[in-house]
C-alpha cells in the first residue's frame, strides 16, 4: 500500500510538452532548468468538479500520507482508544476521495493500491480467515488469541488476532467506498466525458 510516488526522473517528453505547454498559457514556469521535476499529483490533472485548484492539489499531495498514517493509527489503537477498523477504513477512504476530488478519475486510479473488488476480496478473506482459523485448532469461531511482546524500541506491544479481523473490516470499508466512488463518481464522470466527446472519441480508461 505505498502511497508515495517514486521520484520521477523526468516526465516523458511528448506528454510533458503537452501538459506544460497548456499551463504555459496560464503563467506557469518556462520549460527550463528551474521547471519543477514533479507535479503535485501523479497524473494529468482534470479535477472531478469545476476548475483546477492548486490549493486542493497541494493539500491532497501533502495530506494523503498523513491521512493514511492516521487511519492505520486508528486501526491499531482502536482496542484501547477510540478508533478501530471501521473508523480507520473511513479515514483511509477519505484520502482517496480527496485525491479524486483534486485530480479526477485518472488520479484516483493512479492512487489506488488495487482495484476495489480486490480490496473487498482481500478484506473478506482476512476477516473470514481470522474467524475460521480457531476452528482448525478445535476452538470456537472467532476466538481471540493475543500475545504480548517486548520489543526494543516500542516497549510492550500486544499482538492480537482481532487486529487481523479489524484489518479485514478496514479493507472492506475502503473497498466499499472506493467502489462507490468509482461507480457514482468516476464512472459518471467518464460517461459525461463520453457524452461530451461524442460516441467514438471518448474511449476513456475505465477506472472501476
Amino acid at each position: 500500500m505505498t502511497e508515495h510516488e517514486p521520484v520521477r526522473p523526468e516526465p516523458s517528453p511528448g506528454r510533458a510538452d503537452g501538459e506544460w505547454g497548456r499551463s504555459d498559457r496560464s503563467g506557469a514556469p518556462p520549460e527550463d532548468w528551474e521547471a519543477p521535476r514533479e507535479r503535485w499529483l501523479s497524473t494529468g490533472v482534470r479535477p472531478a468538479f469545476g476548475p483546477r485548484s492548486v490549493m486542493l492539489e497541494v493539500s491532497a499531495r501533502l495530506l494523503t500520507p498523513a491521512i493514511l498514517t492516521f487511519s492505520v493509527f486508528l486501526l491499531v489503537s482502536g482496542h484501547d482508544r477510540p478508533g478501530g477498523g471501521f473508523a480507520g477504513g473511513l479515514v483511509a477512504s477519505m484520502a482517496y476521495v480527496l485525491r479524486y476530488i483534486a485530480g479526477g478519475r485518472h488520479e484516483l486510479r493512479a492512487g489506488m493500491p488495487m482495484l476495489p473488488n480486490s480490496l473487498l476480496a482481500l478484506g473478506l478473506l482476512l476477516a473470514c480467515g481470522t474467524a475460521a482459523a480457531p476452528l482448525l485448532l478445535g476452538h470456537p469461531v472467532l476466538e481471540v488469541h493475543s500475545y504480548t511482546a517486548h520489543l526494543p524500541v516500542f516497549g510492550k506491544v500486544k499482538f492480537a488476532s482481532y487486529l487481523l479481523f479489524e484489518s479485514g473490516v478496514f479493507l472492506i470499508v475502503v473497498g466499499l467506498v472506493l467502489s462507490v466512488v468509482a461507480a457514482l463518481g468516476a464512472r459518471m464522470e467518464a460517461e459525461e466525458e463520453e457524452a461530451r466527446d461524442g460516441a467514438g472519441a471518448g474511449a476513456g480508461g475505465n477506472p472501476g
Binding site: 478508533g83 473508523a87 476530488i101 474467524a131 472467532l142 492480537a160 473497498g175 462507490v180 457514482l184 459518471m188
Partner: protein, 873 residues
C-alpha cells in the same frame, strides 16, 4: 461391526482426488486421460468382487466416518447384497465405459479434462449413493449425482439445446430431491434414527406421517428413475455424449431411484400407499416407455425410451416386496445395466463412424461391422428376454413373481393386471429390440450406403465385453442368483424359494415367454401397420409440456410479483415502509398506551431537561437544520443542511461521552455527503414541486406520525427496562479480553459474529453498486442486435415446424414453450453441431432478458436507488 477399517471411504476419496488432479493432465494425455480416470471405478469394482463372498455369506461390510455426530449424521457405509450388485454395476460397467471413452473422444474435443473429472466425480457420488447407510449422506450423494449429471448432460455447453436439457434434468431430479429430503427427515424423525438399515429392520408405525414421508421419498425416487409422468427429462438428456448416456442413463444414475425403492422395500412394501404408487406408476412407465420406443427413428432415443420402460419394470419388481420379485429385480438390474450400456456403446460406435444414428439413414452395417453386430444381437436378445441370456432368467422370474398363485400379498385382480402389463411390456420390448437390430444393422435397399472406416478393435471391445457378460451370466445364472438370494432373503418369504435359472421345467412363465415372442415377432413384422396406428392415435397429454407450463407459470408469477411490488419510485417505497411501521408496531404501541399496558415513566424516573447546557445549543442547531431541510427546495443546500444535522447529532454523542460513536458518525456523514454530491450532478438542481393537496398532506402526516412514533417508542423502551442490562459486566470482560475501549472490544470480540455479518453486507452492497453501473452500460450495448434478431426469427421455426401462434410472453419459459413443437419427439436427433436458427434464437433469448432488466432499471430512478444504498452504508 467389521473390525477391519473398510477400504471404501478411501476409494471414494480416490474418486474425488482423481477429479481434482485430472483436468490439468488433459492437454498432455488427450483422450487417454479416461484410462486414468477409470482407475478409481476399477478399484471399487475389484474391491467389491474381492469381498463378494464374505458379503454374500451374510456379513455386510460396514464403516463409518463421522461427519456431524451431534445431528446423527455420518458417512456410514454398509455394503450388503443389494449394494454389492449396484457397486458392481456402477463401478464395473463404469470402468468399462471409461475404457471406451478413451477410444470414443478425440484429443481435440472441448473440455476433455472437465468431462473426465466430472465423470469420475459422478462415479464416486454414485458409489457413495449405493453404499451409504445414512439418509442424509444418501441425500448428499444423490444430489451430487444430479449436479454432476447436469454438468455431463450439458457438456457441449455452447449448444443451447444441451444447456436446456441439462437444466431440465437438474430441475426435475434435484427439485424432487428436495421433496425427498423432506420425506427423509420425516421418516427419520418418526423412527428416531437416520440409519437406513435400522429403519428397514424396524420400520416406524404407520399413520399419515409415514404415508406422507413415503410419498415424498417415492416422488424423488421416481423422478430420478424417470418414471411417468416425470420421464421426459431422460430422452431430453440424450443430447449428452453417448458414453455419458451409457453410463448415466443406462448403468448408473437412473438406477438410483430403483435402488432406493428396492432398499426401502423390505421395510415399507406392505404400506398401502407404497403398493399403489409403485405398482401403478411402474406399470404405466413400462407401457408408455415401450410404446414410445417403438416409434423412434433415432437409435439413441429408441434406447432412451426403452430405458424408461425398463426402469418402470425395475421399479415394479423392486417395490413389490416379495422374494420372487426381489430375485427378479436383482436379475433385471444386472441384465439391464449390461445390455443397455452395451447397446448405447454400440450406438456410440455407429454414430462415431458413420456420423448419424438415424434409422432412416443407416444401411448395411451388419455386413460392415459383423463383430459389433453379433455383440449387439446378444445384448438386444438379453433385452428382449431370450434364452440363454441373463435377461431371460430375469424376465422369467418377473413373470413368476406376479402369477396369481405366487403373489401372496396381492389381490388376484391386481396381480392379474400386473401380469398382463408385464406381458404387454415384454411384447413391446421384444418389438423395439428387434426394431433396434433391424434399424442399426439391417439392409434397406432404399437407403444409400455411407462410406466409413471400420472401428478399431479397442473401440468395439467394450460392447463386446458387456455382451459376453450378459451371455456368461445367463449361462451360469448361479453367480447372479447368489446376489439375488442375498437381497431377497430380507423380504417376506414366498411359498417356495425361487432361483434364477434357465430351465424351471415347462412352467406358466415359459409358456408366457413363448407367447410374448410370438406376439413380438408379429408386432415387428407388422411395423408399418403399428406405425400407422401410432400416428392415428390422438396425442397423449405430454408430460414435457406440463413441465414447461409449470416453469412458465413460475416465471409469470415471479414477473407479475416483481412488477407489482417494484414500482421504482423511492417515495412509494419509503411510504410503504413507514406505513407498515405505523400499522404494526405503531398500532401496538397506541393500544398499549390506551389500555395502560405500557407504563409511561413519570418525571421522577430519570427524566431531566439536560445533562449539560451545551446540549441545548446543539439541539437548537439540530432542530433548526431539520426544519430548514424540509423547507429547502434546492437539492444541494438541502444536502448540506442534512449533513449539518448529522454533525449536530455527532455533537450530542460527544457531549454524552461516546467518542467512538461520534467519530464514526462524523466520518460516515462526511463521506455520504461527498458521495451524494457526486450523484447530485446528475439530478435537477431543485426538487420537483408537488402541488398542495391531499397527496402532500398525507406525506406530511405520515412522516410526522413516523417521527413521533420513533421518538415515543425510544423514550418508552429505554424506560421500560426490567432486567439488568447485559452490558453491565462488559467493562470487566473487556479488561480481560485485553482492550479498554469497550465499543471496539464489543465489535471485534464479543459481537464479532455480528460484525462479520455486517462486513459481508458491506461487501455485497459494494458489489451491487458496481454491478448496477455495469448493468446500465450493458443494455445500451445489447439493445440494437436484439431488435434485429427478433425480426429475423419472426417467420421461420426450427426445422420448419409450426409454432403456436399468439403473442410471446417474455422469459425463458415462453421460449421453451415455443420450441417444444420441434423438440417434443426428437430431441437430439441430429448429431450436427451448428444450427444457425437455434443460435439466433439463443441470442434473442439473451436480448429479451437484457431488455427486460433494462426497462426495470430504466423506469426506476437509478441514481436514487444507488443513493439509498449509500445512505445505508
Amino acid at each position: 461391526m467389521n473390525d477391519v477399517p473398510m477400504l471404501l471411504p478411501a476409494i471414494l476419496a480416490l474418486h474425488a482426488a482423481a477429479a481434482v488432479l485430472l483436468p490439468p493432465l488433459a492437454g498432455r494425455l488427450g483422450a487417454r486421460i479416461f484410462l486414468l480416470a477409470g482407475l478409481p471405478p476399477a478399484a471399487a469394482a475389484v474391491w467389491a468382487l474381492a469381498h463378494a463372498p464374505a458379503i454374500l455369506g451374510g456379513a455386510p461390510m460396514q464403516a463409518t466416518v463421522a461427519w456431524a455426530p451431534a445431528l446423527g449424521i455420518a458417512f456410514a457405509f454398509r455394503v450388503d447384497a443389494l449394494a454389492l450388485a449396484m457397486t458392481l454395476l456402477v463401478s464395473g460397467v463404469g470402468a468399462v465405459i471409461f475404457g471406451y471413452c478413451a477410444a470414443y473422444f478425440h484429443a481435440e474435443e472441448r473440455g476433455l479434462g472437465r468431462l473426465a473429472a466430472v465423470m469420475v466425480l459422478f462415479a464416486g457420488s454414485m458409489l457413495g449413493l449405493v453404499t451409504t447407510d445414512n439418509l442424509f449422506a444418501l441425500y448428499v450423494f444423490w444430489e451430487l449425482t444430479s449436479v454432476t449429471s447436469f454438468l455431463l448432460v450439458g457438456h457441449d455447453d455452447r449448444k443451447e439445446h444441451a444447456r436446456r436439457a441439462a437444466t431440465q434434468a437438474l430441475v426435475t431430479t434435484a427439485g424432487t430431491g428436495l421433496l425427498m429430503l423432506i420425506g427423509f427427515i420425516m421418516l427419520g424423525w418418526a423412527a428416531g434414527d437416520y440409519s437406513i438399515s435400522a429403519l428397514v429392520a424396524d420400520p416406524p408405525d404407520g399413520g399419515p406421517w409415514l404415508t406422507a414421508a413415503l410419498v415424498l421419498i417415492l416422488v424423488g425416487a421416481f423422478a430420478k428413475s424417470a418414471q411417468v409422468p416425470m420421464h421426459f427429462w431422460l430422452p431430453g438428456a440424450m443430447i449428452a455424449p453417448t458414453p455419458v448416456s451409457a453410463y448415466l442413463h443406462a448403468a448408473a444414475m437412473v438406477k438410483g431411484g430403483v435402488y432406493l425403492v428396492a432398499r426401502l422395500a423390505p421395510g415399507f412394501a406392505d404400506a398401502g400407499v407404497w403398493q399403489v404408487l409403485v405398482l401403478g406408476i411402474g406399470l404405466a412407465t413400462m407401457i408408455v416407455g415401450g410404446w414410445r420406443a417403438l416409434r423412434q427413428d433415432d437409435l439413441k432415443l429408441l434406447l432412451a425410451y426403452g430405458t424408461v420402460s425398463q426402469l418402470g419394470f425395475l421399479t415394479l419388481l423392486g417395490g413389490a416386496g416379495t422374494q420372487v420379485a426381489g430375485t427378479a429385480m436383482i436379475g433385471a438390474l444386472l441384465a439391464h445395466g449390461l445390455f443397455k450400456s452395451g447397446l448405447f456403446l454400440t450406438v456410440g460406435i455407429i454414430d462415431h463412424q458413420t456420423g448419424t444414428r438415424s434409422i432412416s439413414r443407416l444401411t448395411g452395417l451388419g455386413r460392415r461391422m459383423p463383430v459389433l453386430a453379433v455383440a449387439a444381437c446378444f445384448s438386444a436378445a438379453s433385452m428382449a428376454g431370450l434364452p440363454p441370456l441373463i435377461g431371460f432368467t430375469a424376465k422369467e422370474a418377473a413373470l413368476e413373481a406376479f402369477l396369481p398363485s405366487a403373489a401372496p400379498g396381492l389381490p388376484a385382480p391386481v396381480s392379474a393386471a400386473e401380469l398382463g402389463g408385464l406381458v404387454a411390456a415384454s411384447v413391446l420390448t421384444f418389438a423395439y429390440s428387434a426394431r433396434f437390430l433391424w434399424g442399426a444393422f439391417g439392409d434397406r435397399p432404399t437407403v444409400s450406403e455411407r462410406s466409413f472406416d471400420a472401428p478399431s478393435a479397442a473401440f468395439i471391445a467394450a460392447p463386446v465385453a458387456l455382451a459376453a457378460l450378459s451371455l456368461a451370466l445367463g449361462a451360469v445364472p448361479a453367480a447372479a442368483d447368489a446376489l439375488a438370494q442375498g437381497y431377497a432373503h430380507a423380504l417376506p418369504t414366498g411359498e417356495k424359494p425361487y432361483h434364477l435359472a434357465l430351465w424351471h421345467g415347462v412352467t406358466p412363465p415359459l409358456l408366457l415367454t413363448a407367447a410374448v415372442v410370438a406376439a413380438g415377432v408379429l408386432l415387428f413384422a407388422k411395423r408399418r401397420t403399428v406405425g400407422r396406428i401410432q400416428n392415428a392415435m390422438p396425442r397423449w397429454p405430454d408430460a414435457e409440456y406440463g413441465y414447461h407450463l409449470f416453469i412458465h407459470g413460475i416465471y409469470s408469477v415471479a414477473l407479475s410479483v416483481t412488477r407489482r411490488t417494484q414500482s421504482g419510485s423511492l417515495p412509494v417505497y419509503l411510504g410503504i415502509i413507514l406505513a407498515v411501521l405505523l400499522v404494526l408496531p405503531g398500532a401496538r404501541l397506541a393500544a398499549g398506551l390506551i389500555t395502560g399496558e405500557i407504563a409511561v415513566p413519570g418525571t421522577d424516573e430519570g427524566l431531566r431537561i439536560w445533562d449539560s447546557p451545551l446540549e441545548l445549543l446543539v439541539t437548537a442547531v439540530i432542530v433548526v437544520t431539520a426544519v430548514a431541510t424540509v423547507r429547502e427546495h434546492r437539492r444541494f443546500p438541502a444536502l448540506i443542511l442534512l449533513s449539518v444535522l448529522g454533525f449536530g447529532i455527532a455533537g450530542l454523542f460527544v457531549l454524552h461521552g461516546a467518542p467512538d460513536l461520534a467519530l464514526t458518525l462524523v466520518l460516515v456523514e462526511t463521506l455520504t455527503t461527498i458521495i451524494l454530491v457526486f450523484v447530485l450532478r446528475r439530478l435537477p438542481s431543485t426538487f420537483s414541486v408537488r402541488p398542495d393537496g391531499w397527496g402532500k398532506r398525507l406525506t406530511v402526516l405520515l412522516c410526522a406520525a413516523a417521527g413521533t412514533f420513533i421518538a415515543l417508542a425510544l423514550w418508552l423502551m429505554t424506560a421500560a427496562r426490567t432486567a439488568d442490562p447485559v452490558s453491565a459486566e462488559y467493562a470487566d470482560l473487556a479488561e480481560k479480553a485485553g482492550g479498554t475501549n469497550l465499543v471496539n472490544v464489543i465489535l471485534a470480540d464479543f459481537r464479532a459474529l455480528d460484525t462479520l455479518g455486517e462486513i459481508v453486507v458491506l461487501a455485497t452492497a459494494a458489489v451491487a453498486v458496481a454491478s448496477l453501473v455495469l448493468l446500465n452500460r450493458r443494455d445500451r450495448i445489447v439493445d440494437e442486435p436484439a431488435a434485429e434478431n427478433e425480426n429475423e426469427n419472426e417467420g421461420e421455426g426450427p426445422d420448419g415446424a409450426v409454432r403456436p401462434a399468439g403473442p410471446e410472453p417474455a422469459g425463458t419459459g415462453a421460449l421453451a414453450l415455443r420450441r417444444r413443437a420441434a423438440d417434443a419427439e426428437a430431441p437430439g436427433t441430429e448429431p450436427s453441431e451448428h444450427d444457425p436458427v437455434r443460435e439466433g434464437e439463443a441470442g434473442a433469448a439473451d436480448a429479451d432478458e437484457a431488455s427486460n432488466t433494462g426497462t426495470g432499471t430504466g423506469t426506476g430512478t437509478g441514481a436514487d436507488d444507488e443513493g439509498s444504498d449509500d445512505d445505508r452504508a
